[in-house]
Chain length 255, copies 2
């Protein structure tokens, strides 16, 4: 199995290293990941400036290719320019921090997997739900297991699996549950400070407020100590609203 791996925490992060060690047991792994941390860059891509690609070595062995761009750039670069071929699957992670509920929208890790989905390549995003994560082995094994499952059963084109695993010892994980994206909100403010010259600057500070309670919602599943697996796609059409809007009779509007 030919596996392309990326992330948003950067090629030197612990999460991607532990993921790669596990995935090497089941396939031929190529790592193309951001040179620097790219958390919360969403689905940004680099068009107005060029990209550089650098070989990245760990213990004097080639670990992968570092790109001075975004996670989505890494998938484009990996497929179009490094592999020059379509991998069997793309795996993005292991992200340090949850990518559940509305955090998915901002996530570079999920966007790397979504970039693969746009290219019709099956993809998995995997995150461990703490910024100071210390339990990577179980999430890595879950990712490898789902790679095998996806290979065996196939995945609808244009979709990906978004996996979130609680940052707890493997023995405390209660199982794996199929979930949907939650509808959490952000309680956020800008902290205002003054620089040494007396000028204001603003720093975003926010906390997710979980509004869901159903066990098959991603955020709820991880709070209940389950590994959460959500099917995600990139068709943003709101089909319910589409039906409602028919009554607005756009065809008769005169501007």
């Amino acid at each position: 199995m030919k596996i392309l791996v990326s992330n948003d925490d950067g090629i030197g992060s612990q999460g991607i290293y532990e993921l790669v060690q596990e995935l090497k047991k089941i396939g031929d792994v190529t790592v193309v990941a951001p040179l620097t941390e790219q958390s919360a860059v969403g689905h940004a891509i680099t068009m107005k400036s060029p990209l550089r690609v650098t070989k990245y070595f760990v213990n004097n062995e080639l670990f992968g290719y570092a790109v001075d761009g975004t996670p989505a750039d890494c998938i484009k670069m990996g497929v179009r320019n490094i592999l020059k071929d379509i991998p069997d699957i793309v795996v993005s992670g292991i992200n340090h921090g949850s990518n559940a509920a509305t955090a998915i929208i901002y996530s570079g890790t999920v966007s790397a997997a979504r970039e693969a989905a746009i290219m019709d390549i099956p993809a998995i995003a995997v995150s461990v739900t703490s910024y100071n994560a210390s339990h990577f082995n179980y999430p890595a094994k879950v990712a490898a297991h789902f790679c095998k499952l996806v290979k065996e059963k196939g995945l609808r084109k244009g979709s990906l699996l978004n996996i979130n695993v609680p940052d707890i010892p493997e023995a405390d994980i209660r199982g794996i549950v199929l979930t949907k994206q939650g509808h959490a909100k952000w309680d956020e403010t800008y902290v205002c400070r003054q620089d040494p010259y007396g000028k204001d600057y603003y720093w975003l500070k926010g906390e997710m407020v979980v509004l869901d309670t159903e066990p098959d919602i991603d955020q709820v599943a991880v709070m209940n100590n389950y590994a959460s697996v959500s099917p995600i796609h990139f068709d943003l059409t709101d089909y319910d609203l589409f039906k409602d809007l028919v009554s607005w009779q756009f065809e008769s509007i005169k501007i």
Copy 2:
């Protein structure tokens, strides 16, 4: 009507200026837009560094507030810190270039509107379908008209309207059509060049390949000289795939 306006081309661009002139006829407009161009930044937000806010003047009058961040940052900053109140509607644009089909995923303009939708604020993104756009007046009038319609009829929470208008004279526009996001692909490569020191750098070059033919697809509508209006939301769950995945029996998986 209290209207918050942003874009991704930057506060100094022609599109936002022409939009604001039209929206001032129907409401109280506050502009909070990126200081510099932020095309293709997707739904990136700035968390790891602080933001600055600068008053931006046009003809010695306050035009709005420039933020040295992304379009999504501007909506957060506008609502949380500048208005300190919830506007009736957010309008993002007028984008110089199409934001239809898979371009939506990469669009900063659409992401600004989506950030509003996440906050339960009704939102409209509006684009004119050429990077060298010259016809802004009609799209501005369409945006204003839909602001009034949204105020009158309401919009489902968490959704926005994504409007694309062909860059042609108003007389040649054939009408307005309700559409869905298209499934176009990107035919893309990295152009490799050498810098003056002999090192390679790579520049993304891509063209959208339109695969859809139905008249109610965004990209097709604009190709047919219609203004396209698509309902968009941020629930990325693939509900069809969710049903398929039930048969994978996640609860019985042992890692």
